[in-house]
């Protein structure tokens, strides 16, 4: 897990004073800030992230009342409305955007989305003046390439399937691959097409590693299993973006854990409570690495310890 210093701690002293001034009227009135923590689901990764976020906020000297519930279960009281809604999960974000549109009591309440992919956020996020921001799960593309170079240096032909969500990443990828001396084997799947197999086959025919990037058109419940099977049959390791994919059979995964996402969300929340302004949406600043050991070994990879690999990767980034 990453222990990167929070941006909050890096703030200059003047900001602290400013925050104190803003905060004082609330203290004088004896009111705590009310924040709703809306979850996609009660348990699982959402419950885990919520616990970390709540624990982090409890450590603050300043008291914040955090109400944690699945997003559907909140009942707004006109006497006390939340100052901010933090959503964990794409479902919670989508649901809460819908509620602020429909329920007058919630109109104008800013939303901070966490634990969701950038594509899901962009598909739903309303235009200004609605105040929304996010902490994405998505990693910078360069990080994937660096991880591949660290974990399997001999594999340099990177196969990538682009769909509508991920096609915007193409220029950044081409640039990053060029810098690192890697070859990209790319195939695009047309927007309406559900049949990704021809594109997958063409990519697997040439590439020696398949890089999966978040794209709902390509990697979804209906395809994931088969992409993993097809790749495995061709002895091509899959490098993916979600821990769940390791369990499903991906060899290597670069992801932001729920706890990491929660800490990043806590940092953004503190920023909001100080400034009354949401920071701009950000990609994941922290990350973890995970392997599927049997798959990795059977493909002839000896990647070492995942934490060590993550730490090496982080040092490289910091050095840059």
């Amino acid at each position: 897990m990453s222990t990167e210093p929070s941006p909050f701690l890096r703030r200059p002293f003047s900001a602290w004073v400013f925050a104190l001034v803003l905060w004082l009227p609330g203290v004088a009135a004896g009111e705590e800030s009310l924040v709703w923590l809306a979850l996609s689901d009660r348990g699982g990764i959402y419950g885990e992230a919520a616990a970390v976020l709540a624990g982090e906020m409890a450590r603050d000297a300043r008291r914040t009342e955090l109400q944690t519930l699945p997003w559907q279960e909140f009942q707004p009281s006109p006497a006390r409305l939340p100052e901010l809604i933090v959503t964990l999960g794409a479902g919670a974000f989508r649901g809460m955007v819908e509620r602020t549109r429909k329920e007058p009591a919630l109109a104008g309440v800013p939303i901070l989305a966490a634990l969701l992919p950038q594509a899901s956020y962009e598909a739903v996020a309303p235009k200004p003046p609605f105040a929304t921001s996010a902490v994405f799960l998505d990693q910078p593309v360069e990080r994937y390439l660096d991880l591949i170079r660290l974990a399997m240096p001999e594999r340099r032909k990177i196969g990538i399937l682009f769909g509508s969500d991920s096609s915007t990443l193409k220029p950044a990828l081409v640039k990053a691959a060029g810098i690192r001396g890697m070859q990209l084997v790319m195939a695009s799947v047309e927007e309406e097409s559900k049949d990704i197999y021809p594109a997958l086959r063409s990519v697997l025919a040439e590439a020696d590693v398949l890089l999966a990037l978040p794209d709902r058109q390509i990697f979804n419940a209906g395809t994931l299993q088969f992409i993993l099977i097809a790749s495995y049959n061709q002895k091509i390791p899959v490098v993916a973006f979600s821990e769940a994919y390791v369990k499903a059979g991906a060899a290597l995964v670069l992801h932001t854990s729920p706890a990491q996402a929660a800490l990043q969300a806590a940092s953004a929340l503190r920023s909001f409570l100080l400034n009354r302004t949401l920071p701009p949406p950000r990609r994941s600043t922290t990350f973890s690495v995970a392997f599927n050991n049997p798959v990795a070994r059977s493909l002839g990879l000896i990647p070492g310890e995942p934490d060590q690999l993550a730490a090496t990767l982080r040092r490289k980034e910091d050095a840059r």
């Binding site: 992919p117 209906g222 097809a230 994919y245």
Partner: protein, 435 residues
């Protein structure tokens, strides 16, 4: 009647059995048929699921030959499968083996339906969704309730022919068994019924014969079987009837005899005066009428003497009635001694007597009367040591053919008697000829 009882007994035994067996049979067939269909449905579901799981990757990879191999294999693996197919999520046919009885309807959820003579099973093919993946969060909520993405459908059609044959076989077997069972039941109940009907027949015949009067008829112990006690009762009853009839006959004979004797006695009493033994008034009247007819027809003479004891009232008053009766008896005996055999003496009542003298004219009659008067006057009897004498007066009349009735004849004799009394008693007077 014999047939009626047997049939009823038979029905009593067999009808409930038929009802129970029918209920059991239909209940069993119904349940069994449902079980058979259920088993076939499970088999179809299992085949379709297996086909669906195997078809996941070929479906994703659009591997038509692979899909075709799968559906062919599914058909080869189970004789009852007449058709198997894989459809895409959009409902497009990807591979078909065999012939479907009808084109499949729009596919949606899992379903089983019986179309004509086939059972069609449709199972959706779904890919397993990754667990706890924030990237699939949006996709999950959008797809069908977290069941995983729909990849297509496996459709399997099974023939119900084998099932129907099994059902028919079962039905035939059931009917045959039931028929044989009922046949045995009928035979048994006929045998059992015979043990009742045969004695009833025998007893009925005996009763009929007794009814016709053959009271000596008895049941045969060897033929009464289960109804032996009834037969004994009927025998006892017949015996009792016979005894009663004999007694009755005897009593009737006795009573008849008694009645006859009584009648004879009564007749005798009517014709003979009980005190004197002379003819009664009635007997005398009959005799007199007969003699009057004879006299009229043959022209023979006929005379009549009316007699009355003199002072009889005084005898009764002075000596008592027993003495009076003794005088009457003595008087009668005296008269009897002096008349002819053909003459008829009658006591007409009290101390009044009459004597009918056939073939006797007036003169002879007067002589006879005179003889009688002397005999009476000469006789006497002792009463308590005392001699008692008495006399009588006589009126004589001779029959005249112009007289039409006995009463006129008697009246003339009576008138002569009256004259004798009037002339001083103890004498004979002759009546005048009729005017």
């Amino acid at each position: 009647m014999k047939f009626g009882i047997r049939l009823r007994l038979l029905l009593a035994a067999v009808f409930p059995a038929i009802v129970v067996v029918s209920l059991l049979l239909f209940g069993f067939l119904d349940r069994h048929a449902a079980d058979l269909v259920e088993a076939l449905r499970d088999r179809g579901l299992a085949s379709a699921r297996q086909l669906g799981v195997a078809a996941e990757f070929p479906l994703f990879a659009n591997h038509t030959e692979g899909l075709q191999r799968l559906t062919d294999a599914a058909m080869a693996g189970d004789r009852q499968i007449v058709a198997a197919a894989i459809y895409s999520a959009e409902g497009k046919s990807r591979s078909v083996s065999g012939r479907f009885s009808s084109p499949p309807p729009p596919l949606s959820a899992r379903e089983e339906s019986i179309v004509g003579n086939t059972l069609r099973v449709v199972v959706p093919i779904r890919a397993a969704a990754p667990v706890d993946d924030p990237f699939s969060d949006a996709g999950l909520a959008a797809s069908s309730g977290g069941q995983g993405a729909l990849l297509g459908y496996a459709v399997v059609e099974l023939s119900l022919e084998v099932l129907n044959k099994q059902k028919r076989d079962l039905l035939n077997w059931s009917f045959a068994t039931t028929f044989v069972g009922l046949l045995i039941a009928v035979m048994l109940s006929t045998l059992i019924a015979a043990s009742v009907t045969r004695p009833i027949d025998h007893i009925s015949r005996v009763v009929a014969r007794i009814g016709e009067g053959e009271l000596t008829t008895r049941t045969d112990v060897g033929k009464t079987g289960a109804l032996a006690s009834l037969a004994r009762g009927i025998d006892a009853m017949a015996a009792q009837v016979a005894v009663t009839q004999d007694e009755l006959r005897q009593q009737v004979a006795l009573a008849t005899e008694e009645l006859r004797q009584q009648k004879e006695a009564a007749e005798l009493t009517a014709r003979v005066d009980p005190l004197t033994g002379l003819a009664s008034r009635r007997a005398f009247t009959e005799k007199a009428e007969i003699e009057m007819l004879r006299s009229s027809r043959y022209g023979v003479p006929l005379s009549l003497i009316m007699i009355d004891l003199d002072h009889f009232k005084a005898i009764n008053d002075n000596h008592g009635h027993p003495t009076g009766d003794a005088v009457l008896v003595s008087f009668a005996r005296t008269l009897t001694q002096v008349v002819r055999e053909v003459d008829v003496i009658g006591r007409l009542g009290g101390e009044e007597f009459a004597v009918l003298l056939p073939d006797t004219g007036a003169a002879e009659a007067v002589q006879a009367a005179e003889r009688m008067r002397q005999a009476v006057a000469g006789s006497s009897l002792y009463v308590r040591g005392q001699q008692l004498s008495y006399s009588a007066s006589f009126g004589v009349a001779a029959f005249d053919q112009t007289e039409l009735s006995l009463s006129e004849f008697l009246a003339r004799a009576d008138a002569a008697l009256y004259r004798a009394k009037a002339e001083g008693r103890n004498r004979v007077a002759l009546a005048d000829a009729p005017a």
